[in-house]
Amino acid sequence: MKKSKVFWLYAIIALIVYAIVQFMITSDQLDMYYSNLLITIAINIILAVSLHLVIGITGQFSIGHAGFLAVGAYISAICTMHFDLPFPVALFIGAVVAALAGLVVGIPSLRLKGDYLAIATLGFAEIIRIIFLNTDYVGGAAGMQITQMTTWTYAFFGVFITVIIIANFTKSRHGRACIAVREDEIAADAMGINTTYYKVVAFALGSFFAGLAGGLFSHNFYIIQPSQFGFLKSFDILIYVVLGGLGSLSGAIIAAILLTVVSMYLTEFPETRMIIYSLVLIIVMLYRPSGLMGTKEITDYFKLGKRSKGGNLDDQ
């Protein structure tokens, strides 16, 4: 029961942060620029955490996450703009369709490993993008006009739900099965884990939340275009997960926040931004390939004393 207390503690802290920000927005202490930055951060956290489940936890190297972002963005936009559905319903439908797209992509391609899987997911993402590019119903290359509906409240609860669900999933027998697949697929299989099933589940769940992020993303701008969902967007998301530390949920969140803020300041200088991004990426991979946090979580640093209760390898 101690664990659930810690959980409620975090939940309450998060809700307090939400309330403070919401108060500052309604009382005009935060202008559009900063509230927009916060919404963008929230969307990127959702993307980072959803890809973290696929790459960091399950070890499946997907580099086409922007494809599922695009599915969520377009489907939810169709729901609100063409069918006048309420925004939360549209978000949910967008996420579900993205999860289905995840199944369609995942079932054939998750038989592949490593580099081949990476390239296949990249290819699928590009196919998804080209489909939207060629669909006049969603405006083709010119894009689709969308009413702005995403607010801080939607963005915050999007993050809240995503983080809780993915963290809870990870800390259950299902999450352990996924980590076992990441650590050693053959051994996991030999221990009775249906590895294909868990790879597909992780992929679909990751796609679901990427789709949710997509809905928030499309309704945060006035227009979406297929060109927003290309390789570069996929790489952006990948960078959060890798820089944060593969396998670390809090690492992914921290990296998403840091990089979103940095790139917000560099929007005026897109080339400089990309040069800095790529240099950081190369340097981190060469000198600290485990990323910011390794596989550790930020909470691990608060409970260092706990371990000495059990046996210690040093005193044998």
Binding site: N168, S172, R173, D184, A187, L313
Partner: protein
Amino acid sequence: MTNNLLLKVENVGIQFGGLKAVQGLNLELFQGELIGLIGPNGAGKTTSFNMLTGVYKPTEGEILFDGKRTNNMSPHQVTKSGVSRTFQNIRLFKELSVLDNVKVANHSLAKHSIFSSVFRLPSFFSGEAKMEEVSIEFLKIFGLDKYKDELSKNLPYGMQRRLEIARALAAGPKLLLLDEPAAGMNPQETKDLMDLIALIRKRFDLTILLIEHDMGLVMGICERIYVLDHGQLIADGTPEEIRNNPKVIEAYLGEEVTE
């Protein structure tokens, strides 16, 4: 030993490209037996294990476990039907704790769904508690419960070998396949391991098939021994018969057979 046949391997073989790695393998294991599988390096012992556990699909022959044909099952299905194994080159989940390694193998013990895990429904808490309790029991048998929160990669070598067996046991097998469990252990560790194998065999009513290089060990504890050479079965019988079999001596020429 009644005629309770647990595993029947009939004429099994596998071919990689043009190479016949194993051919005409026949094994019969009865409930409760402890059987050795020996042979020089490259004789096809591990390949045989891989076929028995579904990692490789045999290109010929039949594998019947507990009356069911397991030829085309995938490894997790074979495991669920009651065969589990350890690996020659230790394959623990390195970044998982000792306890979690065992919990992974206990996966099917609890039934809470993804939905109840994600929303922390009561079945999640009862299921996880049960898994924890059972997993710690397994760790206790192997003297690893003190280290349950260590990452498995940080354990010393001998303990890693023991953890692998604990993990395999947690998968709930009727037949346990041990691939060189004593490899790299010193004589004392090997002796402790032998006692442990005898103990778990009795306690869990196991049938055990053991690949081992240490001849002393195999001769000491196995009731019957199969000998493989160049992918073919060249002998089977009691340790005494194997010790005096000229074919076996020839296969092992240059290796220690008599100690």
